[in-house]
Subunit: 172 residues, 2 copies
């Protein structure tokens, strides 16, 4: 077998081995947020950082972290969070499980929202880019490019934890 064939075979093997990860990326035709942020294509492969229930919104949430953010959270190096950190928050309206009355479970999808860390690009919102898409139709939230000031001002409450509300849920 000539050298270049061996190399091609081995590289094909390498690509094949990484296919399951790449295949998880989804093709979406969703409009960008008013500030130009688009939905990170691979966010469904991110690991859960936490979960929450908002009694003021009657809403259940899962918070996913990309590998950079998960590594920082695990190491406790989160103030500031490293550039490239990303979070997805998936929020559903409360519903009651049809066979288990004590369980509140996801009903209608309320929104999917993201925080993207880039200390330079998003300097005017404390280094975080914010974006949100509403419902299953994924309608971009906000009017005008500066809509994320609303997100950023609320996240000031979490300044001590790098403007991120979610703490890593304990797990061995």
């Amino acid at each position: 077998m000539p050298n270049n064939l061996i190399l091609k075979s081995a590289l094909s093997a390498a690509l094949f081995m990484t296919m399951p990860v790449l295949a998880l990326s989804q093709e979406m035709t969703v409009a960008p947020a008013p500030n130009g942020i688009t939905i990170p294509k691979d966010y469904k492969t991110w690991q859960p950082l936490g979960v929450s229930h908002r009694s003021d919104k009657d809403s259940l949430r899962i918070i996913l972290a990309n590998p950079i953010a998960m590594k920082a959270a695990t190491a406790g190096k989160t103030n500031p969070w490293p550039d490239g950190s990303m979070f997805a928050k998936l929020a559903w309206k409360d519903s009651t499980h049809p066979n288990f009355a004590a369980a509140t479970v996801p009903g209608e999808l309320s929104h999917v929202e993201f925080m993207l860390r880039d200390s330079k690009k998003f300097a005017n919102t404390n280094g975080w880019g914010y974006a949100r898409w509403l419902g299953m139709e994924q309608k971009p939230y906000g009017n005008g490019a500066d809509f994320a000031q609303e997100c950023s001002s609320c996240h000031l409450q979490a300044k001590e934890t790098g403007y991120v509300f979610t703490h890593k849920a304990p797990l061995p």
Copy 2:
């Protein structure tokens, strides 16, 4: 460069490319459940299928599904679930967010539990193997190899959905 060196380099590249996935597997020395089930090493890479809050247990949960189970859930082919389907449920005691009183968030880890589909191996519990580990110390739950009859009998309530309580949370 001799053939074997090229091959070694290419295979090293292949291994390097898959390292992020492999690195997510955790090294654990956790005792098996009384029925011999061990914690699936890669469960933290599984995708969230849903989330729940149990008012009778004051507990928040994330339910993860392995790729076989997620594919079946997405296709709606879940009664029966295909052999090889696996779920992880991570359950925490309720806590209140220190900076956001309306948010209930994970407190102490209550337990991590699993359902593994093998219609032959687990025929006497309707085709599902059950196992649970308690707290951060991951103490196996149950006494005797037939402890999972308790799990199985409760899951009879979810017979119509293949003995699985969790419905896939809506997400585009």
